[in-house]
């Protein structure tokens, strides 16, 4: 890494061309995204950058840019066309905030994902005390690690792609965690006490924590309901469900 240097003018088109070539190898069910940290105020392009932008748009590469100096029209245009996010940092903490905003993956767009069967492996931890050559460090290691299910190669960490046979290896918590980013839980609807048709039919307790939903005085307090299973939850459970659990207990 220390040997890489840069010189000359910044070129957005060259960067996009490079990214396009790299990301084209990703299968279509995967997200293709690029985040650029751009501090130059111009871009010196060898050809027509509009063509490159259209190319990226067609390949469904989502380009986001975080600028460090000022707002450039071409960056804004690029982000608009590819559906990305363009923001300019005011100072250092703001820059950190903006970059971290890109960490959670964007929701998947259902039409873009073509249904496909993908072979995946769920390896267990390899036997302790076995001596084998680790495929990523290329040296002998004792114990620990995972074993590829097809070719029995030793792997250091998950998720990864096996070096020898190309099988994608994950563990189930990984899948569960990424699932709720790609298909986020729908926001619950507000239940207004005025729309109540039959006050006797309403549940008196929140389905999640079983606490009472009624205010002192037997009036219905503020609560929310899941649009799919129509169960009622209090506001605390609503926050917990949407931020930590990512799963409706009723569905």
């Amino acid at each position: 890494m220390g040997k890489l240097e840069c010189s000359g003018d910044a070129s957005l088109q060259n960067g996009l061309d490079l990214v396009h070539d790299l990301l084209n190898q990703i299968p279509t069910y995967g997200h293709r995204e690029v985040l650029m940290l751009y501090s130059a105020l111009s871009t010196c392009n060898p050809g027509d950058i509009m063509e490159t932008i259209q190319k990226c748009k067609k390949s469904k590469i989502r380009c986001s840019i975080t600028g460090l100096s000022a707002e450039l029209y071409i960056c804004k245009y690029l982000c608009l066309e590819t559906g990305g996010l363009y923001s300019v940092a005011l100072n250092e903490p703001h820059l950190k905030e903006l970059v971290m905003e890109h960490a959670p993956p964007p929701p998947a767009i259902a039409e873009l994902a073509i249904a496909n069967l993908i072979k995946m492996g769920f390896p267990q931890r390899a036997a302790e005390g076995v001596i084998s050559i680790c495929s990523c460090h290329k040296e002998v290691k004792v114990g620990g690690g995972y074993m590829c299910l097809r070719c029995k190669a030793r792997l250091f960490e998950l998720p990864t792609e096996c070096r020898l046979c190309g099988l994608i290896l994950v563990s189930s918590p990984h899948l569960a965690r990424s699932y709720h980013h790609l298909f986020p839980i729908t926001p619950f609807d507000d239940v207004s006490p005025l729309v109540v048709k039959n006050p006797f039919k309403l549940p008196k307790n929140c389905f999640g924590c079983q606490q009472s939903l009624l205010n002192p005085g037997n009036m219905l307090g503020t609560c929310v309901a899941c649009p799919k299973c129509k169960l009622h939850f209090c506001l605390d459970c609503d926050i917990y469900i949407h931020e930590s659990l990512h799963n409706c207990p009723g569905c």
């Binding site: 105020l41 111009s42 392009n45 027509d48 100096s69 000022a70 450039l72 029209y73 071409i74 923001s87």
Partner: protein, 758 residues
């Protein structure tokens, strides 16, 4: 949206309205109710055009018993097209709400060059040759001959139009110039003559200033406009200059030589007629004796220019006896041309009033004032009698006759200035005689008197109380509006010194100071490395721009600037400038970034917008004063001092700052846009100069931004750009609302009106 202003229901084609648009409409309505004139200044980018159009058309709709005609005057054809496009949108909206009762006829009118569809005519190079080519096909004598001899070419479109005569009308709707051409092609009618005829019957007419202010053109086109009309002059900050130019004439040696050629040609024609058809000349003579200067049955195709004097000042008498015969008139013209040639051969600069000039013409050439006054009419009649069709050849003699008529008609407010050479190039003899009008109120007086309401509006009308004095009228409403903003999207700065703390200025004695040039260069270099996309720089004159760019090139500064952005320059050639602008826009679009060097009084500053990323920063290098040693300017200043008690310094500063504000206002076209403006001259920090900037710039000019040096300006620029790059909330949900909906307006109307907004 639809809302009420007192008794008028206003139809506005968008769902939201800015508070200043609303206030603008309220003031405008008050002026219309009072049937008086008004002066309104509203900043650029606040939707002035649509506010005007929507209020005036709604006002006309609300009073169906007294139909009001709406005349909208613009400066360029491009603005005309933009206005008509907005009107179309508005009209569709009104039709939706009111149905067929809201149908109006609106059209634009321009010269033959823009409206002709006859391919042989429209391919001529310039406007005058197109006119001449049209006349060759449509003059009444040509058509008479063609009726007998089918081999003589005529214009098929005109013939078709003429056949239908009174049935050739435009159905109601909004017609841009393109629409008119398309309609003409479809029906096979001439769009130009159709438009000219329909202008009398239309509800809304959009044309250029000249059609109302220049007597030569107004006499034909706008003669019969009814009194109950509202006239709007948009972008009218330079209207006093337009009025002055309409009544000024300039005569050079080429004009005189051309005039001599024309006179010889006319003499030949007269001899020819004497030989073949003497009756025609005699008929003309008889008519003139009876006191009819012009043929009464003049077809509208034959009138090409009207009398250059104002309609009230044209003598309605018989043409004097000594120019009734064609040969006598020609000899009078020859003597006049000879006299002017003699005057042009002077060694010194001469300046005199029209009365003295007329007296000396009388003494030396024997032509008295009355003869001079009738020159124009007599020439017009003679050219009709001689059936001259190629009028573009006869422009020179026409200029001379315009000159003669104006000199004979007016005694005050004009000067004649003869300069043997241009001051800046004393070795090249280039004599020119100029009849300069100094009084802007002369050309616009008939407009104020004839029409019930005249609205003068622009983005930079400061100081607003100078205009009523210059144009000599009394407005009933005179107001200046500011922009309501959720965020300060403009950042004006006054820069008075460079990084080395030396003051910068374009004052005459500092112009060639290398320190000043270096500081200006360093300013541009620093800005180029901090501001993205496009930067526009305005210089005070072409010669100054040439000089400073040369010195930047020699010191290598230009090269450093070009490393950051590409550089484009405006030249005096239209084609080159258009090409430069095109490439400038391309460079800004693709992210390469560009700088555009332009001149404060050039074509670009008048008409081209640099909105959004095309203009993130505009630098006004210096104060764009006019060339103060020009004789014409000095004469005008003297006249203003004597007649209106306006001090020379005040007027010059006013003129310079209005030009600077106009240049700088090119950068903001909407509220989501943002831009910075740097006024780079130490004189801007003085209160008398700064206070003449328009209110919407001054309200954003904080004290911390006055008297900056280059490094401070760079720091402010960086912060501003970062702040503006953050996402923008259009409606301004917090604090003051800047986008009002119908509900908001109703609440406002029921509560207190307007005063709480500003």
């Amino acid at each position: 949206m639809k809302f009420q202003i007192e008794d008028v229901t206003v139809y506005f084609p968008y769902d939201n309205i800015y508070p200043e648009q609303y206030s603008y409409m309220v003031e405008l309505k008050r002026a219309l109710d009072a049937k008086g004139h008004c002066l309104l200044e509203m900043p650029t980018g606040t939707g002035k055009t649509i506010a005007l159009l929507s209020l005036i058309t709604s006002y006309a709709l609300s009073k169906p018993s007294n139909p009001i005609k709406f005349i909208y005057c613009t400066r360029t054809v491009h603005e005309m097209e933009k206005t008509l496009a907005e009107l179309k949108l508005l009209h569709n909206y009104q039709l939706q709400h009111l149905g067929p009762a809201a149908k109006i006829l609106a059209l634009g009118l321009s010269s033959r060059k823009n409206l002709c569809i006859n391919p042989t005519v429209v391919s001529a190079e310039n406007r005058d040759s197109v006119d001449a080519a049209c006349r060759k096909l449509t003059a009444s004598w040509v058509r008479q001959l063609a009726a007998e001899n089918p081999r003589i070419p005529t214009c098929s479109f005109f013939e078709n139009y003429d056949k239908f005569a009174s049935e050739a009308i435009l159905p109601p709707g909004v017609y841009t110039l393109q629409d008119l051409r398309a309609y003409g092609k479809e029906k096979g009618w001439c769009p130009y003559f159709l438009a000219r005829h329909m202008v009398q019957l239309a509800n809304v007419v959009v044309y250029s200033y000249q059609y109302l202010l220049d007597p030569k053109v107004a006499g034909i086109i706008s003669k019969e406009m009814q009194r109950e009309s509202v006239v709007v002059f948009d972008e009218a900050h330079n209207i006093d200059n337009v009025c002055i130019e309409a009544l000024s004439v300039s005569v050079r040696m080429q004009t005189l030589e051309g005039a001599t050629r024309n006179i010889n040609r006319m003499a030949q024609e007269i001899d020819r007629f004497k030989a073949t058809d003497a009756g025609r000349l005699r008929a003309e003579y008889n008519r003139l004796v009876e006191g009819l200067a012009v043929r009464g049955d003049l077809r509208n195709t034959d009138a090409w220019l009207a009398n250059p004097a104002l309609p009230d000042d044209i003598l309605k008498e018989a043409v004097p006896g000594n120019i009734r015969r064609a040969e006598h008139f020609l000899s009078v013209l020859r003597r006049l041309v000879q006299y002017v040639k003699g005057r042009l051969q002077t060694e010194n600069v001469e300046k005199e009033g029209p009365v003295t000039f007329v007296a000396s013409v009388n003494a030396q050439a024997g032509i008295d004032q009355k003869m001079l006054r009738f020159c124009y009419d007599r020439l017009h009649s003679l050219m009709l009698t001689l059936e001259i069709t190629d009028t573009d050849e006869f422009l020179h003699i026409q200029t001379i006759c315009d000159f003669a008529t104006l000199v004979g008609t007016y005694t005050r407010g004009f000067s004649i200035i003869i300069e043997p050479f241009d001051e800046r190039m004393p070795h090249i003899p280039d004599p020119v005689l100029q009849l300069c009008c100094h009084d802007a109120s002369l050309a616009i007086k008939p407009v104020f008197e004839r029409f019930q309401s005249v609205v003068i509006t622009s983005g930079t009308l400061s100081p607003i109380d100078l205009y009523p004095r210059l144009l000599n009228f009394n407005p009933v409403v005179s107001r200046s509006f500011t922009m309501s903003l959720t965020r300060d999207c403009i950042c004006p700065m006054v820069l008075t010194r460079g990084s080395d703390q030396l003051p910068v200025s374009t004052k005459y004695d500092l112009r060639s100071d290398p320190g000043v040039e270096k500081n200006y260069g360093k300013l541009l270099l620093e800005m180029v490395s901090v501001v993205p996309d496009g930067i526009v720089c305005f210089f005070v004159s072409y010669s100054y721009m040439d000089g400073i760019v040369n010195s930047w090139h020699e010191t290598g500064l230009l090269k450093e600037i070009m490393q950051h952005k590409l550089v484009f320059i405006e030249t005096q050639d239209v084609v080159e400038t258009t090409l430069a602008l095109d490439n400038y826009r391309k460079a800004c679009d693709c992210g390469r970034g560009a700088v555009f060097f332009s001149v404060a009084r050039g074509k670009v500053a008048e008409g081209i917008d640099f909105d959004r990323h095309y203009g993130r920063l505009v630098i006004m290098f210096g104060i764009p004063f006019q060339y103060t040693l020009s004789r014409i300017l000095l004469a005008r200043l003297e006249y203003l001092r004597d007649t209106f008690q306006i001090k020379e310094g005040d007027f010059l500063t006013f003129d310079a700052l209005r030009q600077a504000a106009q240049c700088v206002g090119r950068v903001i076209r909407s509220k989501a846009d943002y831009g910075m403006m740097i006024f780079a001259d130490k004189r801007y920090s003085r209160h008398d100069k700064r206070s003449k900037l328009p209110g919407w710039i001054l309200s954003h000019l904080r004290d911390a931004h006055l008297n900056l040096s280059t490094d401070m300006a760079v720091h402010i620029a960086r912060e501003f750009l970062r702040k503006m790059a953050q996402p923008y909330d259009k409606t301004g949900a917090m604090g003051k609302k800047t986008l009002l909906s119908e509900a908001d307006l109703e609440k406002m109307a029921n509560g207190n009106l307007g005063e709480t907004m500003f």
